[in-house]
């Protein structure tokens, strides 16, 4: 009896050696899954999960599946830091995707960078993200790259004067405003007024009345989608009509804008690295797969997260080993084409090209290409 046990034990010990060939590669993600901003994190997770299923059909590094652990940051700085530390310290992930908000990245980046774990932001667009350190990447186009494209379209339509409106209490919106201001000045537009509000504000009548009296050709709004919707609704109540062109930053780039603001959002222009009706095959396949899996349309956040996981998987393959250092170097050599079009990193780990940026216009609650 004891001999059989010994053989059984020996076999059991020998098995892991075989199982190791299919041992998973641990990857982590820090996203906001609860609390007020969870809509973004949940969309991102949906994109990641969809990509994971597709990638693990084949696996990386010769058939090894990626084991993705998504931790909830709760939208707080401490929550994000604790989540990142847990992923690196206990789950031993080789790379991290996220966090969701620029604010969180400023807190988490130094930690992950200090441990040499490549960190890829898919939705962080503030200035200075990649300055945090050589292990910090981002696949989300900084506002500084997108806004000039949008403004060019506006100028082509005859806009000469512009008013700027932004949420002054959140890092993303403030950074977006800085980009808008710089881009407007560089494009030769005359900035006739600058107003701000708080992200949780619901009344913008004072600011809008002041702007209306100055009669600018365009009004650019840098804020998350809820305040942008509120501004548009109130603007229409106060009598803003077709003669004023509204321009949104990245926060406006969400199907929720049409849901919340309805007809008030018609005519809004926003630059986007992605567009649901982009006709190329890869994008349409992604959209169809997303609809099949979740029963609703993907947004920009889901699309970017989806693309990013593929980029990471390709980098892992290129690195030839599941080590953070090699993955980082391999990421720099990324040359990927996905639903967002062709993608490369700059030497500074930002997205290299803006050729995929399209200017969208809201019509009847849905985005279409702007003429």
């Amino acid at each position: 009896m004891r001999r059989r046990t010994a053989i059984a034990v020996a076999l059991a010990l020998a098995l892991p050696a075989h199982a190791r060939a299919a041992e998973s590669v641990p990857v982590g993600a820090v996203e906001i899954l609860s609390g007020p901003n969870s809509a973004y994190g949940i969309a991102i997770k949906a994109g990641l999960d969809l990509a994971l299923a597709a990638i693990n059909g084949k696996g990386v590094l010769g058939g090894r599946p990626i084991a993705l652990t998504v931790e909830d940051s709760g939208g707080t700085k401490d929550g994000a830091i604790n989540a990142a530390r847990k992923l690196i310290g206990r789950d031993k992930v080789v790379a991290i995707i996220g966090p969701t908000l620029s604010n969180e990245m400023f807190a988490v980046g130094p930690v992950t960078n200090g441990r040499g774990v490549p960190t890829i932001g898919t939705s962080t667009t503030a200035k200075g993200i990649t300055d945090i350190g050589p292990f910090i990447f981002r696949t989300s186009l900084p506002e500084a790259d997108v806004v000039p494209v949008t403004l060019r379209k506006a100028i082509a339509r005859g806009v000469k004067t512009i008013a700027l409106l932004y949420a002054n209490d959140d890092a993303f919106s403030k950074s977006g405003f800085d980009s808008m201001k710089a881009a407007a000045e560089a494009a030769g537009l005359s900035i006739i007024d600058i107003e701000s509000f708080g992200s949780k504000d619901t009344d913008f009548s004072a600011q809008l009345t002041k702007i209306k009296a100055l009669k600018p050709d365009a009004v650019a709004i840098s804020a998350l989608v809820e305040p942008v919707s509120g501004v548009l609704l109130q603007a229409r109540q106060l009598g803003f009509g077709k003669e004023t062109l509204f321009i949104g930053g990245n926060g406006a780039n969400s199907p929720k804008l049409g849901q919340i603001a309805g007809a008030a959002a018609d005519g809004l222009l926003v630059g986007s690295p992605w567009f649901i009706a982009k006709p190329d095959k890869l994008n349409q396949a992604f959209v169809a797969a997303f609809r099949a899996a979740y029963g609703k349309d993907p947004d920009q956040f889901a699309a970017q997260a989806y693309d990013t996981l593929f980029i990471l998987a390709e980098a892992i393959d290129r690195a030839g080993a599941a080590t953070p250092e090699k993955i980082r170097d391999a990421l720099l050599a990324t040359d990927h084409t996905g639903p967002l079009g062709p993608f490369r990193f700059t030497d500074h780990r930002d997205p290299a090209s803006t050729e995929g940026v399209v200017v969208l216009e809201m019509r009847g609650g849905v985005f279409g290409i702007a003429e």
Partner: protein, 292 residues
């Protein structure tokens, strides 16, 4: 432009006053800082949302939602506050217990309904706007002004013109004496909860209609402004709440319009602190307050 800004201020102020009415009642009569008030506000808005989505008209949905919110208030306040009232606990305890409860309630509601913003079905009120003398006002905003007036008037009548109101005022001034005189303080407290909750619910519907945004955390944003209005107006002072609300709205709008829009949020708090330093009983000085 000044005329439009003043109108903006009055309209904004009316929303603040509307929000603060039930809050000041609760504070003034029951000596309770009821932070769950913001939740009843939100609950009223959601009830109206579901009712109107089911096809019921706004004229009917509004009172139904208010009654619903009032009922919820009676239950929740009863659970949380009865024990404290019997133990004659201080205001700090009510602040904390309602704080914990409202955190849990907001989070629970978000977990159940999701954080997305919803709109009331379009076309509930005419989408038109009036253009008088260069000033634009929408139908919804007129509705809010009218409703605020009606509610303030109704509340004043209740408190000053009825026996019930007399009992409420007696309880506010001297709860022990009131009990000794045969006033059923427990039932009265429940009634005050109901009225306060119903006012919150009505406010939620109207404000949700005006800003076209209904979401689980909507009460939270109004809460801090509510403090300002209640303190500046004087605790338990209904007319004070109305005047203070209008004042706050006008000052905020004029600050944003003529000084700097970044200061809009802070100006209310600056006024709050100044009032507390100089006239803590409120600008209109009719409520009593404990001084050190």
């Amino acid at each position: 432009m000044l005329a439009q800004q003043l109108v903006n201020g009055v309209l904004l102020g009316a929303t603040y006053a509307l929000f603060a009415l039930g809050f000041t009642l609760m504070f003034g009569v029951l000596r309770v800082i009821n932070l769950v008030y913001g939740f009843y506000f939100t609950a009223g808005a959601f009830l109206a949302l579901w009712l109107t989505e089911a096809g019921i008209s706004l004229a009917l949905a509004l009172p139904l939602a208010a009654i619903g919110a009032g009922a919820i208030a009676v239950v929740v306040d009863g659970l949380l506050l009865t024990r404290l009232r019997r133990a004659k606990a201080d205001e700090l305890s009510s602040l904390m217990v309602t704080l914990g409860a409202v955190l849990a309630l907001y989070a629970g509601m978000t977990a159940w309904l999701g954080p997305d913003i919803r709109r009331l079905p379009p076309g509930l009120v005419g989408a038109g706007a009036l253009d008088l003398l260069g000033v634009r006002v929408t139908v919804a905003q007129v509705l809010i002004l009218a409703a605020s007036g009606v509610l303030v008037g109704g509340l004043l009548w209740l408190v000053r013109g009825t026996r019930l109101g007399l009992a409420i005022r007696a309880m506010a001034e001297k709860p022990d004496a009131a009990a000794l005189m045969g006033i059923d303080t427990a039932r009265l407290a429940a009634l005050v909860s109901f009225v306060s909750g119903a006012l919150a619910g009505a406010g939620g519907v109207l404000i949700g209609l005006n800003f076209n945004a209904i979401h689980p955390y909507m009460g939270e944003a109004m809460m801090l402004r509510g403090f300002v209005v209640v303190i500046v107006g004087g605790l338990g002072d209904i007319v004070g709440a109305l005047l203070a609300g209008l004042l706050l709205g006008i000052v905020e709008v004029l600050t944003a319009g003529y000084l700097a829009s970044g200061l809009k949020e802070a100006v209310g708090f600056a006024i709050l602190v100044l009032v507390l330093w100089t006239r803590p009983a409120g600008l209109f000085g009719r409520a009593g307050v404990a001084r050190a």
